[in-house]
Symmetry: none
Subunit: 74 residues, 4 copies
Amino acid sequence: MSEQLSPSPSLICETILQQIERGLFSTQSKRLPSERELSEIFNASRLTVKHALLELEAQGVIYRKERRGWFLAS
Amino acid sequence: MSEQLSPSPSLICETILQQIERGLFSTQSKRLPSERELSEIFNASRLTVKHALLELEAQGVIYRKERRGWFLAS
Amino acid sequence: MSEQLSPSPSLICETILQQIERGLFSTQSKRLPSERELSEIFNASRLTVKHALLELEAQGVIYRKERRGWFLAS
Amino acid sequence: MSEQLSPSPSLICETILQQIERGLFSTQSKRLPSERELSEIFNASRLTVKHALLELEAQGVIYRKERRGWFLAS
DNA sequence: GTGGTCTAGACCACA
DNA sequence: GTGGTCTAGACCACC
């Protein structure tokens, strides 16, 4: 990640999409890192990360299992 | 803390009480009042206050944490 | 503060500097570490820590602010 | 308002709807109180209030003028 | 002096 | 040890 402060949800969306395309984040379980881990990775608050995840969910890229985590839709 | 695993709630209680008596758990904040509060304190517009804060930042007296507020540099 | 309206930025600068020198703007927090931190400090589960905190609350030593944390009662 | 802590967005929605039906909030301008005022009225954070307002916007009850405020749709 | 947006951090319900 | 949700409070762009 760059040193940029306060990344926007859409920037986080883009970056996550790129990582997905590159095969990162896709382990056997296809689970994404937790919201807390993503917060640290992107140097953003959980709220901002959540907004990005909701955006990707709306795009159908990922889906959510309540209190279980976020997973790749493919 | 001792090396004991899984301390009982009452042991934790005791330890917390001791720490409170010793004055621990009290930290010192070096945060300045918010820009809005400073505006009211000085009866000045927020723009004027901002100019003053930027001046102090340039002098190295205070620094800014993005969206977190202003803090003493020392 | 004087009664003067619309003080200049430099006057505000001066005043803030004086307050800093006098030690104002430093407040004392009476907040306890978060439940997660206490769990790590005591190497105990969050449930155990919670029981200890509830005990201390019953003793009137600490009190809770909903979703804000635990604070010393004194 | 009751003494209830941490009201949910949907509870705030209901209450605002009732107030609208009773003709409160509807002055000549049909403008709602500011998000900050609503936060104080409902003893909730701005974020929670915002969620309630977005819900009412989705229902078509109110609409938003960017950086101007919230207004009754009728 | 508004809404827009973000931070850092709580506690909670649940698995 | 996750996501769900909320708090209190920032700064910002704009009116």
